[in-house]
């Protein structure tokens, strides 16, 4: 999309009919006033003056203003407009300092230490001026074909209108879709159509807000790409914003009238149930209000709804949404006497290593990851310890791979064959050129693999059947979460590495299934440490360097930006900063930020971030609403019935199972609830599991006419009789 800035911008803000006639503005020429009327909030009027001195002159990128005494709302982060000879200069307010003629602190002390107490007021107040630095975002010349770098002259300063902010953030130069990333709040009042300031329910003035949009071509490629979040865990709201931005990307890309595009996302859940309930709305449905309230899920606030509206977004959960997880250690399915484990027939959702395991909440959402040995043989450096993997072991692993050994069972058979070889030839020290000590060592190490990669590695062959796989093509708007939160580090690194490598390969083969794929990786400093040899470093660096051309973009987050590979950060077209700790902020990674900005970052509240983007000449603070989905822990309480809280009625799980298998024939939620009324949660969950197994078996045998509801009713009646 090519957006162009209209030469005569509509004067929708700042000047209203209620202001009266279009009167001259002191300090501003008629030409300036006519050319830039839509950029300045004339209703609020002049808020200060540009000031330049010999020591601190106005420059192309930074200048100074002093604020009018009664302009008490002007503050850091606000966007203002000043003027050079032939251009409007739009910038972000930064670094406030109050100046007075007091030469030293002691002067004030002695002023107050005459006969009077310190509380006494002096008859004359020392004049103080509040001076702000302003970092230039953009200039707008009288002529559209001229780019001005001339610093502003001493003269009036006004608040910027949303039009000015839109221009300053370069939206007229966007080649892609504008994706709302944050909401900027200025110091001037938003106004009604009559021109009077808008007031909120408390009677307070509502401040002017404007969307901070990023260019999709610079977020998702091909011009630039990738986004990075940094900040303290639990305080910086990195994941919340990544989800918000992902949702915004989905909505805006899908609805681009000129070029609708399919986007999907792949995320790794590394902490608790953080990303497990992204298909559940933040706002409860009517029958879940009590459950949400008990779980501490407050839903969206009025300001969140307003923010979504202001940003042109809907607060909707992700759909389709799928979770992939390995099994719990020791619960990997095993089939006696069979060559392969058929996951579509035998896996139990509760056996998966994920917090989301309530019946009714897993079907159609949670799917297993289970590997046979073959997958590990291709990455011996990730499977065996560095000290173990010498040339000899590497050679034997290659031999095993070339013999197309695919499972642990087959490997055991091979070792048995080797044993027979040595028994038959007791004088021989080697088998196929491999020394028997090497073979003994390999056998020992392979033996430990099922334990080392507990829950991920099957001893048998694995058949997924019709089950979705984590590395298959993506669908439009799909959010795919790989849950590795409960896995040990070995499993975590292997899964992340393997999945990303496979997805990367799909991208290279143009087999993603969507136009753009977002890969969200938290804890980047673990997977791609600066200067280190992290398991995923090379792949992530490659994605950062080439991903935008292959339609794969990296959304990365970490607590310590300074400890992440600089090649990844350097390739990020968009960076966001939440609250940062003081040990971290002293690092060179933050040297381009002003001291005030750094100080702000030290105490940044939740929901407020600093954003850099390829189109922005200086970083800007903004806020974002609560994510459109329920928080992980709250979702766990509501939908997984944990924490002793009132969750979803257990009959809802049964209804979901029945509805999934019976489709349109399924009864209503109320009907199921009425029928199952009186049964406890455990009983209903048991019935759910049996109905699910039965339906799956019937389906596998091609018996499509069988009703899951019929079976459920039968099981319920049996339970009732048994309890009598």
């Amino acid at each position: 999309m090519t957006a162009t800035m209209p030469i005569a911008m509509p004067s929708t803000n700042g000047f209203h009919p209620a202001d009266g006639v279009d009167v001259p503005i002191p300090g501003l020429t008629e030409t300036h006033r006519h050319a830039f009327s839509a950029l300045i909030d004339r209703a609020t009027g002049q808020i200060g003056r540009v000031v330049g001195s010999e020591k601190e002159p106005a420059g192309s990128h930074k200048f100074y203003i002093w604020a009018k005494h009664d302009e008490v709302s002007l503050d850091v982060g606000h966007i203002v407009v000043a003027f050079s000879e032939e251009a409007a200069v739009i910038g972000v307010v930064d670094e406030p300092r109050r100046f007075s003629d007091l030469r030293s602190f002691l002067d004030d002390y002695f002023d107050r230490q005459l006969e009077d107490a310190i509380e006494e007021t002096v008859p004359t107040q020392r004049p103080e001026i509040l001076v702000f630095a302003v970092n230039v975002l953009r200039t707008k010349h009288f002529r559209d074909d001229v780019t001005s770098h001339r610093p502003p002259e001493s003269g009036p300063v006004f608040y910027a209108t949303p039009n000015a902010i839109e221009f300053a953030l370069g939206e007229h130069e966007f080649s892609g879709v504008g994706v709302p990333a944050l909401l900027h709040t200025n110091g001037n009042a938003a106004r009604e159509s009559t021109g009077v300031p808008s007031l909120n329910a408390n009677g307070d003035v509502v401040f002017q807000r404007a969307a901070i949009r990023v260019d999709s071509d610079y977020l998702l490629g091909p011009e630039a790409g990738h986004a990075n979040w940094t900040g303290q865990s639990g305080l910086a709201t990195k994941t919340s914003h990544a989800l918000f931005l992902t949702s915004a990307v989905f909505q805006k890309m899908r609805n681009d009238p000129e070029r609708p595009r399919k986007v999907a996302a792949l995320m790794f859940n590394v902490k608790g149930p953080d990303l497990l309930w992204l298909d559940k709305p933040a706002e409860p449905e009517l029958d879940l209000r009590e459950a949400y309230a008990h779980a501490g899920a407050k839903g969206l606030r009025a300001e969140d709804h307003e923010a979504y509206q202001a940003l042109g977004l809907r607060a909707e959960p992700f759909s389709p949404f799928r979770i992939f997880a390995p099994f719990r250690p020791g619960q990997v399915p095993y089939t006696h006497g069979s060559e392969a484990v058929h996951l579509d027939r035998s896996s139990s959702p509760t056996a998966l290593n994920t917090y989301r395991n309530a019946p009714g909440e897993v079907n159609g959402v949670v799917y297993p990851i289970l590997w046979q040995l073959e997958a590990l043989l291709w990455t011996p450096h990730k499977v065996f310890e560095f000290g173990d993997l010498d040339d000899k072991l590497f050679g034997l692993v290659s031999e095993i791979r070339e013999r197309q050994i695919a499972s642990m069972d087959q490997l055991q058979a091979l070792f048995a064959e080797i044993d027979a070889h040595f028994e038959a030839n007791p004088d021989r020290q080697e088998w196929q050129g491999h020394h028997k000590f090497t073979i003994m060592k390999a056998r020992n190490r392979f033996k430990g693999l099922p334990s080392k990669f507990g829950g991920l590695l099957s001893e048998q062959m694995v058949e997924y059947g019709k089950l979705p796989r984590v590395d298959e093509k993506f669908g439009d708007g799909e959010l795919r979460v790989v849950d590795i939160a409960g896995c040990n580090t070995n499993v975590q690194e292997l899964i992340v590495s393997s999945v990303i490598t496979k997805v990367w390969k799909m991208a290279e083969e143009e087999q993603l299934g969507v136009d753009k794929l977002i890969i969200f990786v938290d804890e980047l400093n673990k997977y791609a440490p600066g200067g280190g040899e992290g398991g995923l470093r090379d792949t992530l660096v490659d994605i950062a360097a080439r991903g935008r051309h292959l339609n794969v973009v990296l959304f990365g987050a970490q607590q310590f930006r300074s400890k992440v590979e600089s090649e990844i950060l350097g390739n990020c077209g968009t960076s966001l900063y939440g609250r940062v700790g003081d040990e971290e902020i002293t690092n060179a990674a933050y040297r381009s930020l002003s001291e005030t900005t750094k100080a702000e970052l030290l105490g940044l509240p939740k929901g407020r971030l600093l954003i850099r983007h390829a189109h922005f000449r200086t970083p800007i603070f903004g806020t974002f609403p609560m994510p459109p989905t329920i928080a992980g822990m709250a979702g766990q309480r509501v939908f997984n019935g944990e924490g002793g809280t009132v969750g979803v009625h257990p009959s809802v799980s049964l209804w979901k199972v029945v509805a999934r298998w019976d489709g349109e024939r399924a009864p209503s939620k109320g009907e199921v609830r009425e029928f199952a009324d009186g049964l406890d949660r455990a009983t209903i969950e048991r019935i759910c599991a049996r109905v699910e197994d039965g339906a799956r078996t019937s389906n596998a045998r091609g018996k499509t006419g069988t009703s899951a509801w019929f079976q459920a009713k039968d099981l319920i009646q049996r339970e009732r009789k048994r309890s009598i």
Binding site: L102, D111, P123, T124, R126
Partner: protein
């Protein structure tokens, strides 16, 4: 303010440069002096040095409260001060050219009233900021080219004042006009008069009720009170002349912080300055009837300092005679000790609002002469 140049928007510096070019084209022998310092700097601190004389006529002094004059502790803390306005002026006299023996100078004078509200916030009282821009050129010097210059200035609306205009005798005039140093000195004195006239006009306005104010509000004038106006006091910071002698003078120098002398009046004939509006004829008859009431006041501790440190002379109208009122005025002035204008070397006797007003006026004058070579 008079405009000299063809275009009002042109800076003064540019206007002067254009005038010089034109005069040179017309053959006027100009020597550029724009890089020399201002006359205020030239004559800064200069006092007329002469043999000390007992020029104070002690018999002419009227001791109002006590006889002899004594020290007195100012009661009260000065709360509820009604000092709400402050008057001061500033000038900058620039040497521009020399034509033959005659230095051509120009002065920019500014004066204003500073208004202070109940919250202690100050601003220039609306309508009181006055500017006067004057060229100082002797009209009767006979120097070739001066006439062309005067014609050029007055032709473009500028104002020319003769620094020797009070010299009637042609011989004396010719002698002074041929003395470069004395002409320069006369220009400085005239420039000072220009500024004093501005201040005096503001004092007249105050007497006439401008700016608008309550009846009980008072004005503090920086320097001598040059006119007998109501609700105004002058604050004299320099003690170049000693009115009292003997024990009474010692009483002045012995004043402790927060103490004042009892009030007195002094014959006007001893007053140095021109332009006073006190009734000279009346003084001639009585020697003291219309003279201002004055007293000394020590603002800060002078321990280890010159005897005149933090010592000011307060002048008030002739109607101020009551001890209670003088105490009250003194208390109000003492309350002005904080905040201190420590960025100015005269802070011990300089009231902070006056200091602010000076800063404002200096910046206004500087703005008017931006780009002047002497400022670099």
């Amino acid at each position: 303010m008079a405009s000299v140049g063809a275009r009002a928007s042109q800076s003064f510096t540019v206007q002067v440069a254009e005038m010089a070019a034109r005069l040179r084209r017309d053959g006027v022998p100009l020597a550029d002096m724009r890089s020399s310092e201002s006359l205020e700097l030239t004559f800064a601190g200069a006092v007329e040095v002469r043999m000390p004389s007992a020029d104070a006529d002690q018999d002419a002094i009227e001791r109002i409260e006590t006889d002899p004059i004594i020290a007195r502790v100012v009661p009260g803390a000065g709360r509820g001060s009604r000092l709400t306005h402050f008057l001061d002026g500033s000038q900058r006299t620039l040497q521009v050219w020399r034509i033959g023996l005659v230095p051509v100078a120009t002065t920019i004078a500014a004066a204003a009233l500073l208004c202070r509200n109940a919250a202690g916030e100050v601003e220039i009282a609306p309508g009181t900021l006055r500017f006067q821009h004057v060229w100082l050129i002797p009209r009767r010097s006979g120097q070739t080219g001066l006439g062309d210059l005067i014609e050029l200035i007055e032709g473009s609306g500028g104002v020319v004042v003769d620094p020797l205009d009070q010299v009637d005798d042609d011989d004396v005039y010719a002698a002074l006009a041929g003395d470069y140093g004395k002409l320069q000195q006369a220009a400085y004195v005239k420039a000072r008069e220009v500024r004093e006239q501005l201040e005096l006009k503001l004092l007249d306005d105050w007497e006439n009720g401008l700016p608008e104010r309550r009846d009980d509000e008072w004005l503090v004038v920086d320097g001598r009170l040059r006119s007998d106006v109501r609700n105004a006091v002058g604050l004299v910071k320099s003690m170049s002349r000693q009115q009292l002698t003997g024990h009474e003078a010692a009483t002045v120098f012995d004043l402790a912080p927060g103490e004042r002398t009892t009030a007195f009046r002094f014959p006007l004939s001893n007053w140095r300055d021109l332009g006073t509006r006190f009734d000279v004829e009346a003084v001639g008859a009585t020697g003291k009837v219309d003279a201002p009431t004055m007293w000394y006041l020590r603002l800060h501790n002078s321990l280890g300092q010159d005897a005149r440190h933090a010592l000011v002379r307060v002048e008030a109208g002739k109607h101020v005679r009551d001890t209670g009122q003088i105490d009250e005025l003194s208390a109000w002035l003492l309350a002005e000790r904080a905040p201190r204008a420590t960025s100015d070397a005269r802070w011990a006797t300089l009231l902070y609002p006056i200091h602010l007003l000076e800063e404002i006026l200096k910046r206004r004058v500087d703005a008017h002469t931006r780009g002047w070579p002497a400022a670099r």
